[in-house]
């Protein structure tokens, strides 16, 4: 598969032309633990994704990217709770529902059907004792009510669509007979089997080597063009952002600190944290170069504050070269900047 050194943000319906977003998250707050000892992992998360568009969630480890995406599909760990917020999903039928309000059976009807999810670890996210075909056919039977035969037929079509040669044959094999990249194609086939309106992808390429990464990104892009689903793509790699996303939300310590289109955020970042991240990716064109050499993309001195003692005011202040006393007084609000980005920094126009 040809590797494009730098992919322009692909042609997709512009954000404002889209009638209504597929996903709209408002003021999401997620905590872990009992009400006495609860630690807040993410707070004040608002985002929206329109059909055919990809929003990337970027940030260092522990910034709350996975928590956010797992909250959307309501699969947080047992100790995790959505404290407040709305997760409005416009399903296949066009009905908008708040996933936070749904009970378990209703959620089961949404998962795998309107919502698909792929995870980071292709080696462990497939069931070792079931054939690959069965694992793809299962949601088809559950949600589309197809017979065993018809579901298997569709599973084979899905395998074919995600670029696995000899699909009919491969459907009868078990996960251990597939390589990492091929397994990730299988998980994509599972997630897309029922033609979901939204695909959640939590670092789906991080565990793969570079050429396979590119193949998977290209596959996801072309599947999105065919099926038109919205995509929430979690990554900590700006090179990947440039390849796949239309919009970016940058997360830091459980909050979104900057948001905009890929072009805006990468070319004219306004939050000091985004600037710091991008300073390590000298030029957009060399992003894939960077990935090849596996150089760390983050080299901002200092550490992410722990959930246990989150500082007052701007959470980035301890690492910010522009920090002043007033930065530490109150949490900065998200403001629209000169370039159209939204940034959570009170000094964005001074620096």
């Amino acid at each position: 598969m040809p590797l494009s050194p730098m992919t322009e943000p692909m042609a997709a319906p512009p954000a404002d032309a889209a009638p209504e977003p597929t996903l709209r998250v408002d003021g999401l707050k997620v905590g872990f633990g009992g009400s006495q000892t609860r630690l807040i992992a993410v707070e004040d998360i608002s985002l929206h994704i329109s059909p055919g568009r990809t929003l990337a969630l970027v940030g260092e480890s522990g910034s709350g990217k996975s928590v956010t995406s797992l909250a959307v599909i309501r699969l947080l760990a047992a100790r995790g709770r959505i404290v407040s917020g709305r997760i409005a999903l416009r399903d296949k039928a066009g009905a908008v529902r708040d996933l936070v309000e749904l009970d378990e059976p209703a959620l089961e009807a949404v998962r795998g059907n309107d919502l698909g999810m792929i995870f980071q670890e292709p080696m462990t996210s497939l069931n070792p004792v079931l054939t690959v075909g069965e694992q793809i056919a299962e949601p088809i039977r559950i949600h589309m009510g197809l017979s065993r035969r018809a579901a298997m037929q569709r599973a084979i079509e899905m395998l074919d669509r995600v670029g696995i040669p000899g699909a009919a044959e491969r459907a009868r094999q078990y996960p251990h007979e597939f390589s990492g990249g091929m397994r990730q194609r299988v998980t994509i086939a599972i997630a897309l089997a029922c033609d979901p309106v939204l695909l959640l992808a939590d670092e789906p390429t991080t565990a793969l080597d570079v050429t396979v990464q590119m193949q998977i990104l290209n596959l996801l892009r072309s599947l999105q063009q065919q099926q038109g689903m919205a995509m929430l793509f979690v990554t900590h790699n700006f090179g990947v952002v440039a390849e796949i996303a239309h919009d970016v939300s940058v997360m830091y310590a459980g909050q979104i600190v900057e948001h905009g289109t890929v072009r805006q955020v990468l070319k004219t970042p306004r939050h000091p944290y985004t600037r710091g991240l991008l300073a390590c990716v000298p030029q957009l064109g060399t992003a894939s170069e960077h990935k090849k050499q596996a150089t760390p993309l983050f080299s901002i001195p200092g550490m992410v504050p722990s959930l246990r003692d989150m500082p007052r005011g701007c959470r980035f202040a301890a690492r910010c070269v522009h920090a002043e006393a007033r930065c530490r007084e109150a949490t900065p609000a998200l403001e629209t900047t000169d370039t159209g980005n939204i940034a959570r920094c009170i000094r964005w126009n001074e620096i």
Binding site: P105, V110, G112, I142, Y174, H176
Partner: protein
Amino acid sequence: MTLYVVRRIGAGILLLLALSMLVFFLLRLAPGDPLSSYIDPMVSMTEQDMERLRQSLGLDQPLPFQYIYWLGETITGDLGRSLQRNGQPVSELLMASIGPSMLLMLSGSLLAILFGIVIGIVGAVRRDGPADVILAALSSVGVSSPAFLTALVGLYVFSGVLHWAPAGGMQEPGMPFTLSGLLSHLALPALILAFGQTALIARYMRSSLLEVLHQDFIRTARAKGVPRRKVILKHAVRNALLPVVTLIGSTLGLAVGGAIFIESVFNWPGMGLMMVTAVEARDYPLIMGGTLAVGAWVILANILTDVAYAFIDPRIKVG
């Protein structure tokens, strides 16, 4: 697969050979003379009579010769005659007692596998709930109490005090055979035999399932919209069973030990009971024959386990 099984059977035969050798020599090294139980104490015998008898039984030969002689006979299918029991052929005695033993052991193991797996699943799914706590307590008792103790306590409580079950034997003496009669005699010893095994299997199943439930593919299954119940029964249990199958294999072997006690306590006419009396009487040919039969059963159980394992885990390619 076939090749693999053939290889395993070959190895099993070698193992049996080694076992027979070990038991043969250990028996002869133990103090005591088989003749003392062979002869009738009421009939006085001279030294010469004794010597003649010894010769006729081949007991005067050097040990290695005795063994080779025994082995030769065994290979041709002749396990010799019992020194007791009116000199009945060992093979006949074994045949008569294998059936009852198998019946007891297999029904005990089947109960244990069924109960163990179900209890393990309930314990893992309702983790730390009341059922889990009760089961945990019961299984500690089950794992830590030796078979003879549970057998005696069980006999006392259910037969002696509650009169729920007959005290022993395989059916009412002097009555014609009936299935219900057999089952009512079988129930208590089989349950008691199952007790310890159930506890072991349940514990193992519980922890294995808890581990599996944390694995990534469970999250994948839930992300597909598979209902929780089905996630557990279809995706988790099959994976959790893999290590449990190995354990079941070894409990099938262990059941032999428990069965010997239980047969003695319940007067169950199986190999265990026969072996206990054979050992008391130093009935060498019968002990050897019984050892071979038990050894073969343990080895067979292990082979069956491995085959079952390969059957449920597609990653195992044998052959």
